[in-house]
């Protein structure tokens, strides 16, 4: 018997959906550009069964993959659970058997040793295959047409880390994927295995090194010659896990550290830079200027996640959990371990930012992300008030001029992560932005498609789902040339 009644906030728009769905030829307001041939694939989580512990992280939700398939101006929708061993075990038991986020000591004894992964973070198209990614485990291969789960994937046995990042980067110049696993040899190990995988899906390089302290290594950036790897305040230990806590706690005394790793170098060539407390969960892009590495990202002052609480018992501070687009400059000629930092925009934004991926490693101009514009109307009498917490706009942030153009989703909507879809053979920023909006008045999800160069004009099309799509962590546009779509 499933009972969510003791989950007081899983109501209304935030109630679990728990079903798989197909919608053929979705309702569309506006006109879907016929040049869009591929799929917008989303990955996120939903609770198949209620969490075992009230204070567990939402990152423990069961993975759910869904896609909007675009062809000839028609859009079909499909959504499926990622059927991991964990999902199957819970389904068979008709209850949640797994405990807190990345803490096997809190599991039901019946699932000891089973793959705990929930595969709920990022979809990836690479080497002609579709994957789901979750940083505590290997990628899972997914059938790109049925979205059925095939299983864990280790790149022909050559990928040795036990974990795989949710944010690999593909070098647009070479087609190589730079990826890594942290806690690579198991829980609480301080190893990082960094890989280069060519566009055929063959591992061509492995570099093993250690981090100064076991911490979350969620995202990286790449330049032509370097990999930029931020680590920051989240800490963990085996003692912590045995005490029954979630994997991460926040230690404000830990410096933010950034590794500059030569792509063709050895562990001894890594430069570690050190700065004040920061949380760089997601990145935008990086480039080289002479002997300097320029790195840009939406960066928090401190811990953005209250479900990974401060280890000193202090209260989580929401005023420091705001992300600003910042630039950090690392001088490789310097003898010291410091770096400089600038805030590029004074407004706080969603840290789920994107760039035109064709410009990764290179100088670029535009970053896209969501933000809350309090000047825009919000019709609480239709939508509910959400305490005013609504990301109602997508912004195009011009890093060259400091200007921002915005798209407004409507007075009863909030927006999930933005995705940029480049126009073939177009210049930087030429194409569409895409993302799912929550319509709180109509209790449904709508896929927004807007011209990235004319955001103020509104969307060119909205694909309407007659239900709430599961919450997304990350979504990616996958062109028809990347995957063997039917």
């Amino acid at each position: 018997m499933v009972d969510f009644s003791n989950q007081p906030t899983m109501k209304g728009f935030f109630a679990p959906t728990r079903f798989e769905a197909d919608v053929y030829d979705c309702e569309v307001i506006g006109k879907v550009p016929t040049e869009l041939n591929g799929a917008f694939v989303r990955l996120g989580g939903d609770w198949l069964y209620p969490p075992k512990f009230e204070d567990d992280s939402p990152f423990s939700m069961d993975g759910y993959i869904n896609m909007f398939r675009f062809k000839n101006g028609i859009v079909d929708y499909k959504g499926r659970w990622v059927k991991t061993p964990r999902f199957k075990a819970d389904s068979a038991a008709h209850k949640q058997l797994f405990g807190k986020y990345r803490n096997p000591f809190t599991d039901d004894p019946s699932v000891k040793g089973l793959d705990r992964s929930v595969q709920n973070t990022t979809p990836l198209a690479f080497a002609g295959k579709l994957f789901t990614l979750k940083e505590d485990s290997l990628p899972y291969e997914i059938d790109c047409n049925t979205l059925e789960t095939i299983g864990p994937y280790n790149f022909h046995g050559k990928y040795k880390s036990l974990t795989f990042t949710a944010h690999p980067k593909v070098d647009p110049a070479t087609g190589e994927m730079i990826c890594y696993g942290y806690e690579a040899e198991g829980l609480e190990t301080n190893d990082v295995f960094l890989y280069t995988i060519n566009k055929k899906g063959e591992v061509t390089r492995e570099l093993r090194f250690k981090v100064p302290y076991v911490s979350m290594v969620h995202d990286i950036s790449i330049t032509k010659h370097y990999v930029i790897i931020p680590i920051f305040g989240f800490v963990s230990s085996m003692e912590r896990l045995k005490e029954g806590k979630v994997h991460w706690g926040w230690d404000d005394t830990k410096p933010a550290m950034v590794a500059i790793v030569p792509r063709d170098g050895e562990a001894k060539d890594i430069r570690w830079f050190k700065g004040p407390s920061r949380a760089t969960v997601h990145t935008l892009n990086a480039r080289e200027e002479g002997n300097k590495v320029i790195f840009e990202a939406p960066i928090y002052d401190s811990n953005p996640f209250p479900f990974f609480p401060p280890v000193d018992g202090s209260a989580w501070d929401p005023t420091k959990a705001r992300a600003y687009i910042r630039r950090q400059t690392f001088d490789l000629n310097s003898k010291g371990d410091g770096y400089t930092e600038e805030k590029l925009f004074e407004m706080n934004v969603s840290d789920l930012g994107r760039v035109d991926d064709r410009y990764l490693t290179q100088p670029y101009r535009y970053a896209f992300t969501a933000f809350a514009d309090k000047q825009r109307p919000f019709e609480e009498w239709k939508a509910g008030n959400l305490g005013g917490r609504v990301n109602n706009c997508y912004g195009r942030f011009d890093l060259a001029t400091g200007k921002m153009n915005s798209y407004f989703s409507g007075p009863t909507h909030s927006l999930q992560e933005v995705c940029f879809v480049p126009r073939k053979n177009g210049t930087e920023g030429e194409g569409y932005i895409m993302g799912v909006a929550c319509n709180y008045a109509e209790v449904r999800s709508e896929l927004i498609i807007a011209d990235a160069q004319r955001l103020e004009e509104g969307d060119v099309a909205r694909v309407i789902l007659p239900f709430r799509a599961t919450a997304q962590v990350h979504g990616r546009w996958m062109d028809a040339s990347e995957l063997p779509f039917a």
Binding site: T9, M10, K11, G12, F13, F14, A15, G44, P58, F59, P304, F305, P306, F307, A315, W316, P318, A321, L352, E379, E380, W381, K382, A383, G384, N385, L386, G387, R389, V390, T412, S414, Q416, E417, C438, Y440, A441, E442, V443, A471, Q472, V473
Partner: protein, 100 residues
Amino acid sequence: MSETMIDQVTAEGSTLLTRRDFARMFAAAGAALAIAPWKIMLAETTASCGRHAVVAFHMDQLYVDYSGTAIPYQPPLGARSGQAAADLSEEDFRRRFVYA
């Protein structure tokens, strides 16, 4: 029927609405609804009974009833499905809906 014909003055001295005038009035009614949807009240009419004009439905068509005797149109409130998060502290909101 042409707009000129529709626009003719009737024997009683009242003016029939052109489509353009109706559209303009409809837009004004919409704006009024947006500003104060709970009132459903437009400008005062000259009706001797002192009633207010109302926006109403007849055969699935919205119209402005100057007599004030029609059943006022009540716009749907919306499902207010975000309300579940209204009373949560910033910490509790993030704890549950980190990327909502």
